[in-house]
Amino acid sequence: MTKQITQEELQKIVQSIPMLSASASQLLQVASQPDHDLMDIVNLVRNDAHLTARVLKIVNSAAFGLVNNIASIDRAVSYLGERVVVSIAIADCSSKVFEKELSGYESAGGVLWKHDLRTAIAAREVVIQSGADINSELAFTAGLLHDIGKALISDYLHGTVTDAIELLTAEEDLDYLDAEEKLAGFDHTRAGYELAKAWQLPDELAEVIRHHHEPSNAKEEFRALVYAVHLGDNIAMLGGFGTGSDSMRYKLDRKYTDYIDIGPKTLATIMLNVDIEFEKLEGSFHSSGEKN
């Protein structure tokens, strides 16, 4: 039996995670305001020399295959889109979280980031293809952050995978959140929510982190967004990009149909687009930036 995390220990774990950079934090705030525009994003990036350099390096990387280099930050931001710029800012200051080896789920370093990126892309595609009235850029950002809690509890789940699977096989109604809670004391949505509070994330993002496995429990005003990420998460897992032992061992919240209308054919299109978009974005984040 492993050690259970107490409330005090969870706070200590949260405090051991570096804070978001000021730019990342402000970008998340602006991105969740319904009436912002791209210039608000541009101005925030412009004020951060390091972030500006990263954004320019990525937009000019081989992955985007531009014929002429982009030198101005406003052109770079409008080319990449808000979601990619926000991702760059987050990835840059919290690689400790996203690149962490999830030994508690038998996953290597980098797997969480890939799952999060797939979820982000899929959540946005779900919004676009269904035509639902949800901010697709925000769905992407929320998808990127939805599973941060796994990085917090993973070490405490080390060595529990066989027990977790045996538990879920014996009791068919339980999902991996139940296993996490039984084996570590907290599931990854509750742990992630604590980090969301410490990072002072906007309410809608905290709500996604807390309720992405059962969006019907999310606050009504944010529920559609939470559903978009919920579907994105399921699509990422079905597409073979889970985070290890827990992949597909969660429940589909079928009430999503009250908010998002997709049929089998649209879902197939979404899955295909996710594969194509993932290849492009993954490459750009990992590229050295050298094109010539």
């Binding site: 897992m237 073979g240 597909m248 429940k251 589909l252 919240d253 299109t269 295909l272």
Partner: protein, 162 residues
Amino acid sequence: MGQIVLGVGDYGASNTPGDDVKTFALGSCVSVIFLDPKTRTVGMAHVALPDSSINKAKATEKPGYFADTAVPALLALMTKFGCHPRGKGIVVKLCGGANVMDTNDTFQIGKRNALAIKKILWSYGMGAVSEDLGKNYSRTVSISVSAGQITLSSPGKPNWQL
């Protein structure tokens, strides 16, 4: 001794003893496995979606991606190893096609993949002799060319054979 690792939408074959043909973490994707006892050739396609009509360009670039184009492409490849062009004598096995818990019809992509594969196989008079489909966990598949043995694995579970 080589490893042939197939990603999503890839297909491949080998008759080199000591080779392993592998694919990692199948979710709703289905792995179609062809074993030809006569030429001792092993082939596999990692199928993501049932029907190529949603994107013809993708099907041309990656025929292994869709059920209806993967089976003919894999057969054509097997023919280069001396197998019968319409699959006579080839042993077919299927695995993958998982679901999430409490799924609805729309999200049963795995089931639609498996059905589409079976349909195209039937048109060649072929059918799977064994399958390990559905459930709600990921599967990694490894086939040894020498033994024609298929080993499946999933985190937290003992390995099993197909």
